[in-house]
């Protein structure tokens, strides 16, 4: 399990064997059943999770009880409630498993304390966060400027694997439409 994470870090900032050992000590393995929560709204997010296998999602629930998906995390992705994790404040997101999922958990205090010992890890997370911000910006622009049909097409080419793994209504939630309307779009091929 930890080997997956080590390889991911090595692909961005190669570590020495000693550093790899330290990383292995930092994280905790956990297996989540389908629909099991990793984090609930109103609590403070203690952990950031690296998905080894399976898929998680983060989402907010609005006033009317509708879910809105912020992020999917398939294998080799990190997921957390960044706001809550960083500011140590309760927040509005839930994180749960779309399928049975194996994760590695890293607490914020562990993460921050390791940055002084292994600056490479601060670089690793700095780069991941830059990439995540670029992706988030891209999503915002898509949302502002493209109609639902095009957003759906883009989603399909961007996440070809997810399309066949997750329920269609989750895709609808992510691209910001109702499942009924997505069904209608798909009917027009």
């Amino acid at each position: 399990m930890v080997q997956n994470l080590i390889e991911h870090i090595n692909s961005i900032t190669p570590l020495t064997e000693e550093e790899e050992g330290i990383v292995a000590e930092l994280v905790r393995e956990k297996t989540l059943a389908r629909k099991q929560f990793l984090h609930r709204a109103r609590e403070v997010a203690q952990y950031s999770a690296f998905v080894v296998e399976g898929c998680l999602r983060s989402y907010a629930v609005d006033r009317n009880g509708f879910e809105h998906i912020l992020q999917f995390a398939p294998a080799n992705w990190w997921i957390s409630d960044m706001y809550s994790f960083v500011k140590n404040k309760p927040s509005e997101l839930n994180i749960d498993a779309l399928l049975e999922t194996k994760v590695l958990l890293l607490s914020r205090s562990c993460q921050v304390s390791i940055f002084d010992r292994i600056p490479k890890l601060e670089r690793y997370f700095r780069i991941l966060t830059e990439n995540a911000l670029a992706a988030s910006n891209h999503r915002t622009i898509n949302y502002l400027s493209l109609p639902a049909k095009v957003r759906y097409e883009k989603f399909c080419t961007m996440y070809p694997t997810l399309i066949n793994t997750i329920p269609q209504k989750s895709v609808a939630s992510y691209i910001g439409i109702t499942p009924e309307f997505l069904s209608k779009l798909r009917a027009e091929f």
Copy 2:
């Protein structure tokens, strides 16, 4: 001018006087007239800009020629096309000045090269990027779950200063509605 940036960095990761001197060497001052471009779509973003005075905006232009604002940068904010800046690829955003604006420019190569000499700066940018990602996530959730009227109200409380400085149609563009519809919303108090 540089003093504004130094103070901002010191508020997050305090620097020694020597380090402050190095930072001062890294950046280049520039003044932009109203409507002047800092960066144009299809070019590679060479610089990230720290706004000392005035206000910049980044925006995309869609197929129909409509502008969609991604970010406002008033004093003490950084702005760039993160995707282009980080990946060194041409991208889809324009950055220009809403008013006469003074900025400090930092090139990506300068930025990256300084991280080894002054790890505090890598921390500074890591923290800024984390905050920006948390804010961007929040915006996405707002988009997915709130009607236009509420998004406008939130914008007003979030950016009380901007409301009186920038044209109303820019607010509409940022919250994702037409200026006509914003005008209608405002008419209902």
